[in-house]
């Protein structure tokens, strides 16, 4: 990008703008303009990219007016969150705080209050930043994504949602409508940790863990990291190692070593790859210890 040729106060693009009020209308608009359309929700990522000319859509489909996609509902199979739910709503939601604290902890580290009042959970996921702070919690919770396209809707696991930096399993005619999170079983504890340059910043590394205990034995475990690979990732090798083992300091240290070996970070302006590998050990240790302490309660 040559910044000298760009004025980020001005959008010089000529754009067709749509504001559908229903999911059906959105699907039909996306089918018509899929090649050069972008879906606008909170706009906290999209507009910045447009002003930097990193993306130059010809059609903007603003879905903010679809009121039916702004909800947090407790259903029999878990918590259902509409894709247009604001991050701030999730952060403040009692059910999220009490039953899925890891999601609240992840979401409240995103941007500022002003940003979280605009940004949506669907947008944070669809932007598919490797550093998205809502991703590791949802991966650790083994959440699902409900996607609507011209051929109806389908549900996929969040772990299958991210396919590359800025890339998701969504087809150009698809859009994300809902997140579903299964309830945590008894004896499960979770944690989220993020390190960054300041308390309001993109992650150098973020991590979420879920540990389920049976006595002192780890009966199930999920561990997910962001900003250490092209997508937010689960570290299955560690999960396999830990499952069925007695929880101990040694096993946590072993897990930390494996995480450092498994991740494939890059060097950017925020941190070096070497740093991310090294610091991921401490973060894995802390995340597992915190999840364990909470599982014991």
């Amino acid at each position: 990008m040559n910044v000298n040729l760009i004025n980020t106060r001005i959008l010089t693009l000529s754009i067709e703008y749509y504001a559908p009020r229903t999911v059906e209308e959105t699907v039909s608009l996306l089918s018509k303009h899929s090649q050069d359309a972008k879906v606008l929700a909170g706009g906290t990522d999209l507009l910045v990219k447009m002003k930097q000319r990193l993306t130059e859509p010809r059609h903007i489909i603003n879905i903010k007016k679809i009121k039916a996609l702004d909800f947090v509902k407790e259903e029999a199979d878990g918590l259902h969150i509409g894709a247009l739910t604001k991050l701030r709503t999730l952060e403040k939601s009692n059910v999220v705080r009490n039953k899925f604290p890891v999601l609240c902890e992840g979401v409240r580290t995103i941007g500022s209050v002003q940003i979280r009042n605009m940004a949506t959970i669907g947008g944070n996921l669809c932007n598919a930043s490797p550093a998205a702070d809502s991703a590791p919690p949802l991966l650790a919770l083994d959440a699902r994504a409900r996607i609507v396209g011209p051929n109806g809707d389908r549900v996929i696991l969040i772990k299958e949602f991210f396919t590359g930096p800025g890339k998701t399993a969504l087809q150009p005619t698809d859009f994300l409508v809902e997140i579903q999170i299964p309830y945590l079983p008894k004896g499960a504890g979770t944690s989220f940790i993020k390190i960054a340059r300041t308390s309001m910043d993109l992650a150098k590394i973020n991590i979420a863990a879920m540990v389920k205990l049976n006595g002192n034995e780890i009966s199930a475990c999920r561990i997910a990291l962001g900003a250490v690979a092209p997508t937010p990732i689960r570290v299955y090798k560690v999960e396999e190692l830990l499952t069925g083992k007695e929880f101990s300091g040694e096993i946590v240290n072993e897990a930390s070593q494996i995480v450092a070996e498994e991740i494939k970070p890059i060097t950017d302006i925020r941190a070096t790859a070497a740093y991310r590998k090294e610091a991921s050990k401490a973060l894995t240790h802390d995340a597992l210890m915190m999840a364990y302490e909470r599982a014991k309660r």
């Binding site: 760009i6 390190i195 309001m200 993109l202 070096t272 070497a274 740093y275 610091a279």
Partner: protein, 612 residues
């Protein structure tokens, strides 16, 4: 530049330490980006609203460039959201807006985007080779400094800066023999310009780090070492390079260090390298100063003077008119207090006028922490003159001698009351005097004048910082801060304290966070000019007010208004040194390059202690 015999000095030393230091290239990140509105006037002149630390120098430059008579150029004062030196010079946006307005004969508004602003100005980046020698008893014998300044693509103030760096250096500690060599180098980077401290935070970081190291080698408490060598009362101080010097008349360095040491628990601080766990705490000390104005007894090479007007209105209120810019730190609030104090009126009665170049006297610039010391002294000078006139008028009414009259503020009446001590029937409000003066055709009670300070007293500061280093992530957290300051009489305690909190945040950021690195392949800034990747600490990243103790020591500067000195830059200068020394105290490693990032800390700890 050479003073004494450097080689001989180093020979006399029992310990000599020489190190190379590299500072960071910091962006000012003032709240608003550089901007200008220029309106062409029917007279052929222009009216300009712009981000500026000096409306009069801006006017003079527009006159020199465009040939418009000065009387037809009017620069309006604006409230600024901080500047930190980035508008000491006239910003290019101002001149471009004027050129476009003259050509188009239409008003022009020009506002930089943030990324343009990031490409417009940064601090000077400096490389120092610094060598100090001391005897066993802790007396410094010689110093040698080589400074290389990366000034970027344009020459904004490189020569004065080269002089200032040596001035700050020799004014920290007494060096009987010294040698200085300074070079400024053009590079194809963002142009450098003044940045809060004007080279002082950089050189103070290097000196305070080296002094710590030297004291340790000599087995002397670094605090005692500083007390044995600091430049203080009676010594010559360089306020702005070699041509701006004065003798220090007020100095609270010892009080700052002794009291600060007690408050932080200096004697209980850990020993470097004795800690082995994951979370290691350390306490560091950094001290320094900055000049208050560039005043001197001789004309010198630095312009530093300003004027003001005080005018008493018919209802007893006061109009205070000055060209001096308030960057948001409350400088003019302090002026209002000085005017109110001298005149004996309630503070609310002093009205700071929104002024411009057509209605004000020349004022050089709000720079060199001169706002209160020099600007406030000009306010005091004209207030005294207006007061004299007021007392003469009152003396006629009260049938008393002018010099026998006193004025006291009466908050209930909302007036200054002129009275004769012990004679309650002989008193009158300023409103009554001003009103009578109008009816009797005596004239307006007002004064206008300029002032050049003939001294440049340093204000002194000292920071004790406790940090916690996470040896496994390299993250450093500020735990506690104790900051002491000698700013003479404290005119506005809350805002002075605010300067110290802000100075700490900026210095902390300089020590551990900020830089503008380039992509070596493309030559582009890695952050592309976006502040997404130029972070400064938020309130959550610095200690809360409960863990941040500020104290002012009791001093009086005889040349300052009511004994006051500056604070703005001294609040920043020693911070990076204190932080670096605290990190050393925690982990036993010294860093010679800023910022000291978690990446660097982890790398060095792993090299030292092996992979964990």
């Amino acid at each position: 530049m050479v003073e004494g015999e450097v080689e001989k000095g180093f020979k006399e030393a029992d310990v000599v330490v020489e190190r190379e230091y590299m500072t960071n290239r910091r962006y000012h990140l003032q709240l608003e980006t550089k901007a200008a509105v220029c309106k062409p006037e029917a007279s052929g002149g222009v009216t300009v609203w712009t981000t500026s630390q000096t409306i009069h120098n801006t006017r003079i430059l527009i006159n020199e460039i465009f040939g418009i008579p000065i009387s037809k150029i009017n620069i309006k004062k604006l409230a600024l959201g901080g500047s930190f030196g980035s508008s000491i010079h006239t910003n290019p946006a101002t001149l471009i807006a004027v050129a476009l307005a003259l050509k188009s004969k239409r008003p022009v508004k020009l506002v930089y985007t943030r990324e343009e602003d990031v490409h417009d100005h940064v601090s000077y980046q400096m490389i120092f080779r610094l060598k100090l020698g001391a005897e066993k008893d802790g007396r410094l014998t010689a110093g040698q400094l080589e400074a290389i300044l990366d000034i970027g693509a344009h020459q904004i103030q490189a020569y004065p800066l080269l002089g200032c760096v040596v001035g700050w250096w020799v004014s920290l500690y007494k060096l009987p023999n010294l040698k200085y060599e300074g070079k400024a180098v053009y590079t194809n980077k963002v142009p450098s310009c003044a940045f809060r401290g004007y080279g002082n935070p950089q050189i103070t970081w290097a000196v305070e780090t080296l002094i710590d190291e030297l004291a340790e080698k000599l087995g002397i408490d670094p605090l005692e070492f500083r007390l044995r060598n600091y430049v203080g009362k009676g010594d010559v101080f360089w306020g702005q390079g070699p041509t701006v010097k004065s003798v220090i008349r007020s100095c609270g360095v010892e009080d700052i260090l002794r009291r600060g040491a007690e408050l932080i628990g200096w004697n209980k601080r850990p020993k470097p390298e004795e800690q082995k766990g994951r979370f290691r705490r350390g306490i560091g000390l950094g001290r320094g100063f900055h000049t208050s104005s560039a005043g001197a007894s001789v004309p010198s090479q630095v312009v530093d003077w300003g004027g003001a007007m005080v005018k008493l209105n018919e209802d007893g209120t006061v109009d205070y008119v000055t060209a001096l810019m308030d960057h948001g730190g409350g400088t003019l609030e302090a002026h209002a207090k000085i005017v109110a104090e001298e005149l004996g009126v309630p503070l609310d009665n002093v009205n700071i006028i929104q002024a411009d170049t057509q209605t004000t006297m020349y004022d050089v610039c709000t720079h060199a922490s001169r706002g209160v010391y020099a600007g406030g002294a000009a306010a005091l000078k004209v207030t005294r003159q207006a007061k004299q006139k007021l007392l003469e008028f009152a003396s006629k009414i009260l049938d008393a001698y002018p010099h026998g009259l006193r004025i006291r503020p009466d908050e209930k009446l909302g007036q200054g009351v002129i009275h004769v001590e012990g004679m309650p029937d002989k008193q009158i409000t300023i409103r009554e005097v001003a009103t009578k003066a109008r009816y009797k055709n005596w004239g307006t009670i007002a004064a206008i004048d300029s002032l050049r300070q003939t001294s440049c007293p340093p204000h002194f500061t000292g920071y004790f910082v406790e940090v916690e280093v996470d040896a496994e992530t390299g993250i450093v957290r500020p735990v506690r801060v104790v900051a002491g300051a000698d700013i003479g009489t404290v005119i506005n305690p809350d805002l002075a304290m605010g300067q110290i909190h802000g100075g700490f945040a900026m210095g902390w950021s300089m020590a551990v966070l900020e830089d503008t690195p380039y992509d070596p392949k493309t030559g582009d800034l890695l952050n592309k000019g976006f502040i997404t990747d130029y972070k400064i600490p938020t309130a959550e990243d610095v200690p809360s007010t409960e863990d941040f103790k500020v104290f002012f020591v009791d001093t009086y500067e005889p040349t300052g208004p009511f004994g006051a000195k500056g604070i703005g830059e001294g609040a920043l200068n020693p911070v990076a040194g204190a932080v670096a020394n605290a990190i050393y105290n925690a982990i036993g490693v010294r860093f010679y390059e800023l910022p000291i990032t978690p990446d660097e800390i982890l790398k060095v700890l792993n090299e030292k202690e092996g992979q964990n």
